[in-house]
């Protein structure tokens, strides 16, 4: 499943890029994020609770971020295990383009979901995932702006 969208953030590109590398902002942005531990500059561990229709799953996720192509782009990959509820794995490519009034953040998220979640939530997964991705960037914008005001 591939999810694509873009959002305009009224801040300069460096500020947006920095925020993407900031665990505090990430924690505030990830919907349902209960815990975010930073093991190194690029390795994070997150506990995220997601509800897919009738199934509520708590994912323990390992995330690796790759900021080396910054500040033009930023990528991350990871996998999450929700025990008997299922698992998820995937990655995201984020491109940051300077605009007159800020930075255009465009993202492409590639995610595979398996296990019981895929069985029960088959028809719910795409909708839920889209909603969550959108929510992430809405939260992100809010968190970044609050940091900068």
């Amino acid at each position: 499943m591939i999810l694509k969208d873009e959002v305009n953030i009224p801040l300069n590109r460096d500020a947006v890029f920095q925020a993407l590398n900031d665990p505090e902002i990430l924690k505030a942005s990830i919907p349902g994020c209960e815990e975010l531990l930073q093991h190194s500059d690029t390795e994070l561990e997150a506990t995220v609770v997601v509800k897919f229709g009738p199934v509520k799953a708590s994912f323990k996720s390992d995330v690796v971020i790759d900021p080396t192509a910054g500040p033009e782009s930023f990528s991350l990959s990871g996998s999450g295990d929700a025990g008997v509820a299922g698992f998820a794995k995937g990655g995201a490519e984020v491109n940051l383009t300077e605009q007159e009034d800020g930075t255009l953040l465009s993202y492409e998220v590639n995610i595979d979901i398996g296990g019981k979640l895929a069985q029960v939530g088959g028809r719910l997964i795409e909708g839920t995932s889209k909603r969550l991705a959108k929510k992430f960037f809405v939260n992100f914008e809010e968190a970044v702006l609050s940091r900068h005001t």
């Binding site: 008997v84 299922g86 595979d112 296990g115 069985q119 029960v120 088959g122």
Partner: protein, 806 residues
């Protein structure tokens, strides 16, 4: 007071025997919630087992940590393959000559596969403990497309047998290949295809679906360590075979195992096989000394116990320009999932797929079936059909339609000119079967007249014109089907399951007061055996069906039999019942003659009594004879009145039918609306017309489900996308149309009462009728074939592809 003598007709009617629409005796308990199903069993100290199942379609199991689960109060044990290995029970044989993991042994091969078995004091604790078992997987690429199984980069699924070049059904050409099964004359068929004036070709895919019985699979195992006796209650369609398999696997002597199938809430083939849950429940009961219950939930049922179909059938059919069929060629790629666990007679790895010449006189034919392993659940059972017969019927009934298009001929007419004619029976088919009896033309013509076929075609043509003129957005489809089944497996000489010949049995005891009990080797799952077998017997021995108890399913009391599936109960156990009844009558005749003080040959049978020839006022009823058999010393005759028959049928039976479905399709929404469904069945002698009608209604509704939406779909990662009833289509009264049923009656010449079996006919014949209607609706716009299931979305896509939304 003198009692007025009853007429023969009155006495016959009082028996409620053959041909009577007797109300089902089972229904008083079912309709009052008094049935006794496996999950109703409650025993002191009973434990509950539940599975940790694989999330992944294909992965190595690196480790299983059970410590947290075992620490949970109320958890008694957690079994893994390591625990079963010392007992050699971590794998078990399948019915198809393969073996299957009971619990994951180093790797998992399908999503939902059993990994560990948690045993706890109640099912809630077991469910909690499942969450606490930590399984570490190393994911492997999943193989979900059987056509990619033999590509160079295909993952090897069955590493346990990767090097075996020989399988249970002959040579294997690749580690993911199970068998090739060939029938008929390849060279002759191919030469006809090369020279025939007309050849039509099509890939016909019968998608993966699931029997999905209302009651899921389950078992309760109870090991009595004092007496050394194991009792196993379960949802078994073949309890006696389960006992033998349990004995062979566990080493417990067969007389120390009692298997009981209580009431069963639908089987449809799903409950024929042996599942890991049964084995684990038995082991857990032996280990703990307590009864252990295992009952799967709906998702477990849909994703792990036996699926049905998944046949990719490539077909070629050759004919003259006038439409006389010359030859049929079929190559099937059969997706069997991770283990070959098809429930077929041993010698038939693709079941009776070689009935695929259908109702037609096709002189030359060839069939090849390749079985393939994929990362999907095992199974391949006969979902309300006799071993792959519904695949065969769907294939030929689609090929006939495709040929009719190629010939530009009416499909009803094409069928008619190719039917096996009445005088050709017994008919030898090109693929090796001997059809017992049939009168296809009579049935077909009756059906065409009943629906006024010509008028329907005229109306359809008008509708197409109106559609083209922009006056309507609806199209009309006429789905034709004439199917021939092969049921009642079967002759012991060529049909066995795990070596057990497919005979069946009946044991009758007549009580002193003239009522009776009959026990059979079959087991009802809703078919109404307690009603219909009593009717067979009533007509044979002259005791009212109301005075006969039918009992099945307890291996300690019932005679050995191979169980109920493949429409075999009436053809085989029904025949055994009639034969045992005739043994009763033969002994009763001697007793009656003694009582009447005449020679044995001087009495004759009349409905419910023996009458002295030429002196009808002198008689003894079966009731009187029964009483005498227990109360009088009769010279040369043993006391009592009992008989047993083990019946080995000389041939299969070949029920047939003519179905016509008329549908209106909304081109813009893809919604199909069934206007009319006419079903004519010929199942030979009819035992209980009301039950037949009920079977036909139920089977047609299952056929509707399969044709119009019911499927087990996998994504490319091997996730089951239709693992719950939210996505797996079960029709309700909302989707179910009105059916019109009719019949002709062509008895089986070799069956004692001429009966052929009917329970599965409507599924076998219904699926092609529904599917043909959908295909037929778009025929005028260039459609030759579109795959099932025809849900609204796919119908819409078909219309869209044909440019009908422009």
């Amino acid at each position: 007071m003198s009692v007025e003598a009853e007429t023969i007709e009155q006495r016959t009617a009082a028996l409620k025997g053959l041909g009577t629409s007797r109300k089902r005796v089972e229904d008083s308990r079912f309709t009052q919630g008094k049935g006794n199903y496996v999950d109703d069993l409650k025993m002191p100290n009973m434990l509950f087992g539940d599975f940790v199942r694989s999330q992944h379609a294909h992965a190595y199991v690196k480790s299983i940590d059970t410590s947290a689960a075992l620490a949970l109060p109320g958890v008694i044990a957690v079994l893994t393959a390591k625990d079963l290995e010392p007992l050699s029970l971590h794998w078990m044989p399948t019915l198809a000559g393969d073996k299957q993991m009971v619990l994951a042994d180093g790797k998992v091969l399908f999503q939902g596969q059993e990994v560990a078995f948690v045993v706890a004091e109640d099912r809630y604790i077991a469910a909690d403990a499942i969450d606490l078992v930590k399984v570490e997987y190393e994911e492997l690429p999943a193989l979900v497309d059987p056509f990619k199984a033999e590509l160079p980069d295909a993952p090897i699924l069955r590493e346990d047998i990767a090097d075996n070049l020989e399988g249970a059904h002959g040579p294997r050409r690749h580690p993911n290949h199970i068998f090739t099964w060939e029938q008929g004359d390849k060279d002759a068929t191919e030469s006809i295809l090369a020279s025939a004036p007309v050849v039509a070709e099509e890939m016909v895919y019968y998608h993966r679906t699931h029997p999905c019985p209302l009651e899921t699979c389950g078992a309760v195992a109870s090991m009595d360590k004092v007496n050394g006796k194991l009792t196993l209650w379960g949802t078994f369609q073949a309890p006696h075979v389960v006992r033998t398999v349990a004995s062979l696997l566990s080493g417990i002597a067969e007389h120390n195992i009692r298997v009981v199938s209580p009431d069963i809430g639908g089987g449809f083939g799903n409950k024929v096989g042996v599942y890991p849950g049964y084995v684990c429940a038995i082991v857990a009961s032996i280990v703990t000394g307590q009864p252990v219950k295992w009952v799967e939930d709906r998702m477990e049922n849909l994703t792990s116990t036996a699926f049905a179909r998944d046949y990719h059938m490539q077909g070629k059919i050759a004919a003259t320009a006038e439409g006389k069929i010359l030859g049929l060629w079929c190559h099937t790629t059969a997706d069997h999932g991770a283990f070959d666990a098809c429930a077929d007679p041993t010698k038939y790895p693709a079941g009776f797929m070689n009935i695929c010449t259908g109702s037609y006189d096709i002189p030359t034919a060839y069939l090849a079936v390749d079985g393939i392993y994929t990362n999907k659940a095992p199974g391949g059972v006969a979902y309300r059909c006799s071993f792959r017969v519904t695949e065969a019927a769907y294939f030929i009934e689609r090929m006939i339609e495709v040929l009719a298009i190629k010939l530009n001929m009416d499909a009803a007419e094409l069928r008619s000119i190719n039917f096996i004619r009445k005088e050709q029976f017994p008919y030898q088919s090109a693929l090796g079967w001997e059809y017992d009896s049939g009168d296809y033309h009579s049935a077909w013509n009756k059906a065409l007249e009943a629906v006024n076929y010509k008028a329907l075609r005229a109306e359809q043509a008008k509708q197409v014109e109106a559609f083209k003129a922009g006056e309507t957005r609806k199209l009309m489809g006429i789905g034709l089907c004439h199917f021939t089944e092969i049921v009642g497996a079967g002759p012991v000489k060529n049909c066995d399951i795990l070596g057990m010949g497919m005979f069946d049995s009946c044991e009758i005891r007549i009580h002193p007061t003239g009522s009776a009990i009959a026990r059979l080797g079959t087991i009802s799952q809703g078919q109404g055996h307690a009603t219909t077998f009593a009717q067979i017997l009533a007509s044979e021995i002259g005791i009212s069906a109301d005075d006969i108890t039918i009992e099945e399913g307890d291996t300690d009391t019932a005679p050995y039999g191979l169980g109920t599936y493949g429409s075999r109960s009436t053809p085989v156990a029904g025949a055994a019942t009639a034969m045992a009844g005739r043994k009763i009558r033969a002994k009763a005749q001697m007793i009656a003659a003694y009582l009447l003080e005449v020679h044995d040959n001087d009495v004759e049978w009349e409905v419910d009594r023996f009458v002295v020839k030429g002196a009808p006022e002198r008689f003894k009823t079966m009731k009187e004879v029964a009483f005498a058999s227990y109360t009088q010393a009769i010279p040369g005759v043993e006391p009592g009145l009992e008989a047993v028959s083990y019946y080995d049928p000389p041939n299969m039976t070949y029920p047939f039918g003519a179905y016509i479905c008329v549908m209106d399709i909304d081109v813009d929404t893809g919604v199909s609306d069934i206007r009319q469904f006419f079903a004519l069945d010929d199942c030979g002698t009819r035992i209980n017309p009301m039950i037949i009608e009920g079977q036909v209604h139920g089977g047609l509704t299952e056929a509707l489900a399969i044709a119009l939406g019911q499927e087990i779909a996998y994504d490319e990662l091997g996730n089951v996308k239709t693992g719950s009833l939210m996505d797996f289509f079960i029709p309700t009264s909302w989707e179910t149309p009105n059916y019109t049923t009719d019949f002709t009656e062509t008895p089986s010449p070799h069956h004692p009462i001429g009966a052929k079996g009917v329970g599965e006919s409507p599924n076998v014949g219904g699926v092609p009728a529904f599917s043909n209607a959908i295909n037929d609706a778009f025929k005028a716009f260039g459609l030759t074939h579109t795959h099932m299931p025809h849900d609204h979305w796919r119908i819409w896509k078909t219309a869209n592809k044909l440019g009908l939304h422009a």
